[in-house]
Structures are given as structure tokens and as C-alpha cells.
Symmetry: D3
Subunit: 195 residues, 6 copies
């Protein structure tokens, strides 16, 4: 079978892109060794590209009371609930690397209740899943359940904002049938130095 | 009963905000006559503020095959499905004004199938609701159902992107219990010149 | 767009109606200033008309431990859950007037958890929504949750009966595409004396 | 185990009831040989008793394009979907008798798609279940699916109204834990003359 | 109406069946007085026949901390939730006999929360229904809720295994439209000696 | 974090097991290089062990109109819908090997609609998912949708039976928190000869 396209929408030649977008993509390519398809897929709409990645970076690359692994765990669990292939596969790779754990991403994506996670992580994911699936039912009690695990109000905002942002991403991915790069599937699964 | 706060999170004094954010808010205030609470609520996180409103403007203030009223209709219908008070009330006001129709927002928010809308608008909202609630099930057939109504692929991206962006917004609003300004409730309900 | 009919079914000329039904309708018209469409729509079936409004009056016009505003609040919240345009719009108008609060109806219809309501009202609506959506799961614990808020067993019957009756109404409205009168949309939204 | 009460609410002595209600109950007792508990349970509220049974009779005892068996089939199928013990058991008995079929009620209550019914009955129950569970989604197409089976618009009103009325009944039954009379369980299961 | 077939798939002549299967069927016939259709329907696949009934017997015919009636109650309640006509009707008959109670099966199949059952039985059915409908959400708390009612870990395995096995059975029945024998409908409904 | 146990229930010493079970396990170990935990977890109940694996082999190791890869695809897709970690991880490994495709398992587990599969495979999975989640709604039309893709009635039985059997397995896994062996996570992901 021929490999399906990256997205249902056309992808412009990278050399025709606005300079800031082109630079951003090349920086990612240099760091990751390849261009994650989400960067290419969003070039179809430069203004949305900028806002999307600015939002992403504001949440995922700043200092936070949530560790980098915890943030990826939220992405993987909620994207699993939204059946989003790109985000589970791509952020599953990042989670494996960040958590230095080759099993954790599959466990969290399929059923976080049965994953090798701490009570703090479990409380975090329960809140995230509620924001993901039933945000209208969030009440004060949901906040209260997080404080004993050491989450501050700022951390809770981060949980909710990461969930909400990737809810947007999940919908766009499914809408345009965005395809995950083959490279992601194996990343972080082998012992350091093995690949 | 004392009026609840605008958001569960603190709102900084507007004069302490970064200049670009302060300017953006004052421009909105000048245009609308008041500051919609979503602008104040997001000042708690300046980087997210910028990305959020850049994304919003990229979708809602550009030229598009969708009319301004159609875009607001998408917001109101999907925010209704997500039980989001702020977005239904605030964008319901904008929809009434854009469509010059004092009844349309309540109709669409409660049940778009029974609203005074055209077959084109109905097809648009069916697609939007599917992206909102079951994006993982979007298939080629859903696209095909839109073409006969005159929607291009770019228009369809707009429908999906507006739905996805406001899905993010709906979750943030419900998470922080963001409150709609009292002003919105009556806007667009009276004949021109009456209020 | 031409205005859709009041109902998918024919409406007889009011002068051809049985005398008791004609009188009842004229009394409502005198009190409200117009004839709410639900009265016209049910004239298609005189026997059902009589039973429907007798049931309505038995619940909504008697003395009760529930205030008039509380009863309307139940109607609006459960009709919102059932996506019933007529009942949300018409009883939303009555709720605004009874509660002397121009904002309450939209808040309750969209998401009662975020509305400006008291703990008593919130407990009442939780019970009502459970009767509305999952009556089969009602257990003794649901009753026990209401007693501390001052509800008697008779009050609880009222909550359940109002919810059940309007569940019938919501289904009939959606079945026949009953249309809300334009007048309802604005009622109770302006300060006394303003309209 | 001691037999639970007929209802969570008190049942007045039949001799203390208003004369019209007492007469109505005694007539049913004479015809059926016992008093169905729904009559007793509703005596707790005389005004609601009258409206409830007036509504019932307006739908179930009039001439209609629906046969008596078809009407009971609607009650059993929708009450099954609402998990209503009283209505499935009591109207299941009536359905067996009306249809002269000892198997039909259990089949329809559990899964009408696998019941020994005609295509006409199946189409009728599909419409009824949609009114029961998702009335907000009823559209013109649902009507069109019924016409080829010989249903008129008046018949369709009957389907919808019976479904809606018993939706009220189902909720009241579950709310007050109304108990079905032991007599109903066996009625219509034995060959004529056998019991 | 002609009686529909036992199954959508062909049933071989019993005399052509492998000897062990033929013997097993004849033994059941001798005991029950007729051949329950599930035995005939599975003869279409001898290897699956053997595994299916071995599994059944391993759970339903061994000694257990659960009484025979309790085990049937699990079958009836979970098969009710899965809308499985064969299992509700056939095991409803067995439950009536095992519990010496002509009412219990219909009560449990329709709504176990309103059935004449003990707190122990109710806790058992709550666990069973969760395994049936949301097994992925089972946590340690669900076990803890059963211990005070006298259930051991082995008993809990039995509840889960019976539920899981009949979940398989329910799906196969609905897939092939397996028909319940007419005999089951009346079994256990009459006083001993009456039929 | 210490590794959680294989199952919430005790696992007997393999040398104390009945000879046929011990032999079966050692054969699997010889073939796979390790003992899949499902074999160990079910030793807690020898009679259920035998029936479970007999059923499994009757479906998964026989000749069939479904290829070995197609059968594993059904397991992975339905186990994904049931959030079953063990089955998605273990059978995902087998699927990768059978289909000689390192990407297919993750794609199918997350969202089969977006996987690199043929129209035949897609039709097969739609039927499987319906048996998995809504078997009560299976009708003749669902069969008719499969015939044009070359599926015979026997093939369709296989699809339904595999789905139903793994529905049992999924529930038992989630009930006892059965853990997938670490070995499965990487199997079939590397080019032949690479690991």
C-alpha cells in the first residue's frame, strides 16, 4: 500500500514559507533529526501556524511545577481519550524519552488507571481527563483533590491548559487526517545507545 | 447574592500588564464599550494571552468563505454542546448583531436542528458538531456532504479550526469558571436605536 | 427566510375550538398579552390539551414548598438538558420575571453548575437532572442529599413531578417542532418600566 | 424478605379519597380483578391523579390508527429503554393479552430488534425509541421513514405522545420506587382457560 | 407470522454431530425436557461448542461462595444491560427456579436497583455491572466495597468471570440472532405442582 | 517504583500445576522465549485456564478465511476500544509480526479509521467494533456491508467470535489488573535481524 499523505491539505514547499516559519521548522529539524509532520501540516495556514506553536511553547517549554514528563503524560492520556493517532504516537515518543521509561507511553495511552504511575500522577490525569471529556462538570471539589498531591493553583492551570490545547490539536489532527512520522514509533523504546 | 468573581484565578491590575496586552485590551474596550472578561481572565498568563488572541484573530477576523455570522454560529452551536456559559452568552450577542437577528443565538445554542437556518448553515453545523464531539470519526463522507452547499476545502478548514479553537476556549472557561459580562446578555436583542 | 409554522401539525381556528379550551386560551392571552404557542399547538388534540394543562397547573400553580422561581428553574435546567427550544425560551422568560434576575435563565439553561444560584438551588437541580436523565438510578441517597437543604418529601415530589412533566413537554415540542413565540426572547431582560 | 411498600410515599385509605377518584379506582378493580398500584400511588396527589389518568385515557383508550396491541408495544419498548419495572411488567401483561402472544412482551422489552414483529411495528418502535431517547434529533426524515408503512401524521402523533406520556410515567415510577402488582407477572402467559 | 429460525447460521442434524457433543446435548435434554437453543446454535462450530460449555460449567456448576441463585442473578442483570434476549429469558427461568421466586428475574433484568434483593446481592450486582460496562475503571475501591458483604477474593473472581463469560455469550447471541426456546418464558412462574 | 505484580491474584508455582497446564505453558515458553503473563494469571483457576485457551485456539489457530494478521487486527482494535492494556500490548506485538508492519498496531489501537488499512480491513473492523460495543444493534444490513468485501458467513462468524472472546479477555484483564510482559512492547518494531 502506498503511504498516505501527511495531511488531507496541501503542504507548501518549505522554501516558499515566510522566513520565521521556515526558521522555526529548520530549528526543530536540527534538534530532532527530522521534521515532525505537525509543523508541515500547519504551514498551510501561516497565521494559525504561529499561534499554534506559540501556544504550544507557552505551555510545554516554560518552567512549571509540572515536570516535563508529567506534561507529556497529560498529552498522551488525553490524546488517547480523543483517539488522536498523531499526538499519541509523537508525544508517546517524547514521554518515553522524558520519563526514561520505554513502557509508560503505551500504558498511559491505553488505560492510565493500570499504568505504572504514582498517586500524584494519577490524580493529575484524573483531573486532565475530566477537563478533556466533561469540563462543564469541573467543580471546587476537583481542585481540592489535587492540593494534597502538591499541586498549586498554577500547576492546575497548567494541567487544564495543556489538556485544552491538545484537545484543539487532537481535533485538527483527526479533521485533516494528519499522519505521524514513522520515526516516532520507535523513539525511546531502546536502551540508550542501542539506536 | 454577591456577584462571583470573573475567574477563579487572580486578575492583575491592568496598568501592570505588558504594554502590548494593555493596548490590545484598551482597543477592545474602546470598540465594545467594555472589556469582555475573557481578555481580563487570560491576563493571568501573558504568553498564553498572546497566543490565544492571535489564534482567535487568525480565525475570526480574516477574510473567509464563511460569513462573519456563519463563524459566530459555529461558536454558539459548539459552545452550547460544551455547556460553556461565557462563549454562548458572549458570542450569542455577537451572532445576534452579525446576523441582525435577535432570535438566532438562543435557537442555535439550544438546538440548531430547530433553528431558523438555511440548509447550508445546517450542514455546516452538523460538520462542526462532529468535529466538536466525535472528531475521531470524521471521514471523507463528511467532506463530501459539505461540497454541494458551496463550501470549499478552505471553508471546511475554517469550520474545523473555529470549532477546535473554541473547544479549547470552552474547556478553559469551564475550568476557571470564567464569568460572562452582564452586558452581553441584552446585546443585539433590541431593535436598532432602541438601546 | 419565511417564518416557519408554529407546529408541524395544523392549528384549528380558535373560534372552532370547544368552549372550555377557547376560554382557557383567551384567559392566558389576556394575562400575557399574547397566546403562547404551546396553547395553540395542543388544540390539535382537545383531550390531550385538557390533560396537559391540567397537569401543568396542578404542578406549577399550586402552593408548594418550592417558590415559583425555583419551579421555573427546574423547567429551564431540565429543558436545557433535553435541548428543548420552546421550553428554554418560554420558561426562561418566566424565570427571569419570577426571579427578578435578567441573567439567571441563560446561566441555568447552559450550565447550572456555573450559575448564580444558592447551594439549595444547586442541590435541587442536581436531583432534577438525575430524574431527567437517569431516573432509574435514583436511590435513597439522592433523597438524603436534599433534606439538609430544607426540602420535605412533598417538595421532592414536586421536583420530580415538574421534571417528569416537562420531560413529556420537551419530547412533544421536539417531535412537532413547536416554535417559541418571538415575545418570549426579550421578556424579563429589561429593567422594570423599560419595556 | 418482607415485601417492600407500593411506593415510597404514603397511600391514603381509599375511603378517604375524593369521590371521582374512588369511583375510578373501583371501576378499574372491577374490570381487572385488582387495583393496579399506579392508581394507588397517584392518590397521594389527587389533582395529579386526575390529569395523569385523563392523559392516559386520551391516548390509550381512544380510536386510533394504531391498534391496541401496537400502543402497548410502544409502552413496553420505551419503558424497557427507561428501565421502568412497573411499566414493563404491567404493560407487558396487557401487551401479551392484546396481542394474544405470551412471548412478545419479554422480547420487546429486552431488544425489539430481535422480537417477532412486523416491519411496520419495527419502524414504529424505532421512531418511538428516538422520541424516548433523542427527541431533539427528530427530523423530517424520521417522519418519511414511517409513511411507507401506512402511518398517517395522526398515527405518528400517537406514537410520539404515547412515548412522551410514558416517559413521564417511567420517571415518576423510578422516582418513587413504585412497585408492580404481583398479579401482572403471570397475566397473559398461559393459554386461555388455563388460569 | 412464521417462527424465525433458532439462529442465522445452519444447525446440523444432531445425529451427525461428534459423539461427545451429541451426548452432552442429550444429557441436557433429559434433564431439562427440551434442548435449549444455545446448545443447538453452537453445534455449528464443534471446537467452540466444547470450549464454550467447558467455560460455562467451570463457572456455573462448581462449588462457590456464591449461591446458584446469586450466579444466575449476575447473568440476568448483566444480560439485561447487554439487551440479550436469549440470556435474559433462559437464565431468567433458571433464576426463578433457583431462587424459588417467580418475580425476581423480571425485576433484576429491568432494574436491579428496584428489585427485591438484599444489600449483599445489590453490591454484587453493582460490581458485576461495572465489569460488564466499564471494566477499565475497576479499581481497588470496587473490591473494598464487596468485602463487608462477606465476599472473598475468590467470590469476586467468580462475579467477574461470570459477567465476562456471559458478555461473550450476549454478543454471540445478538450477532447470530439466537432465539430463546418458548419453554423458558413460563418456567418458574407457577407455584410448584401447577404446571 | 517497584514493578507491580502480574495479577491481583496469586500465581501458583509452575511445578505445582496440573501436568496438561504445565506442558502447555512450557510449550509456549519454548516458542516465544518467555511466558506471556496471561498464561500465568489464569493458572489460578485450572478449569477456566483450559476453557479459555481452548476457546482461544479454536478461533486463532485454525484455518480461516481471515488471515492471521486480520485476526490480530480485530483483537487490537476491539481491545483498544475496551482500554485493555494487556491485549493491546501483547496482540499489538503479534500483529506487527504477522503483518510485517511495525506501525500498524499503534495505528489500529488508537483509531482504525486513520490506519494504513484496506477497505476490506476497514469494513471488518467496523463490524467488529459494533459487536464489541453495540452487539444488540447488529442487523442484516451489517452482514450485507461485509459480503462485497469477500467475507463469507463463516468469516463473519469468525469476526464476531474473536471480538466476543477478547471482550471476555479484556474484562478479565482489567478486573485483575493483569500486566503485559515487558518483552511485548518492542517485539516487531525493529527490522528483521535487528533485535
Amino acid at each position: 500500500m502506498q503511504k498516505p499523505p501527511i495531511s488531507r491539505y496541501p503542504i507548501p514547499d518549505i522554501n516558499t514559507l515566510p522566513e520565521d516559519i521556515r526558521t522555526r521548522i529548520l530549528q526543530v529539524q536540527e534538534k530532532a533529526g527530522f521534521i515532525p509532520n505537525v509543523f508541515l501540516a500547519f504551514t498551510h495556514r501561516p497565521a494559525e501556524f504561529r499561534a499554534f506553536f506559540d501556544y504550544h511553547d507557552a505551555l510545554m517549554e516554560k518552567d512549571s511545577g509540572l515536570s516535563l514528563a508529567e506534561r507529556e503524560m497529560i498529552v498522551v492520556a488525553t490524546s488517547g481519550a480523543n483517539d488522536c493517532q498523531y499526538c499519541v504516537v509523537a508525544h508517546g515518543a517524547v514521554l518515553r524519552i522524558r520519563a526514561r521509561n520505554p513502557l509508560i507511553a503505551d500504558q498511559v495511552a491505553i488505560n492510565y488507571r493500570k499504568a505504572d504511575i504514582s498517586p500524584r500522577e494519577r490524580a493529575m490525569l484524573e483531573f486532565a481527563l475530566k477537563v478533556c471529556l466533561r469540563a462543564q462538570e469541573i467543580t471546587e471539589e476537583d481542585y481540592q483533590a489535587l492540593y494534597p498531591h502538591g499541586f498549586s493553583d498554577e500547576d492546575i492551570w497548567d494541567i487544564a491548559a495543556i489538556t485544552s490545547f491538545f484537545g484543539l490539536s487532537n481535533r485538527m489532527v483527526n479533521f485533516m487526517s494528519m499522519r505521524a512520522n514513522d520515526e516516532f514509533y520507535l523513539m525511546g523504546r531502546l536502551p540508550k545507545g542501542a539506536n
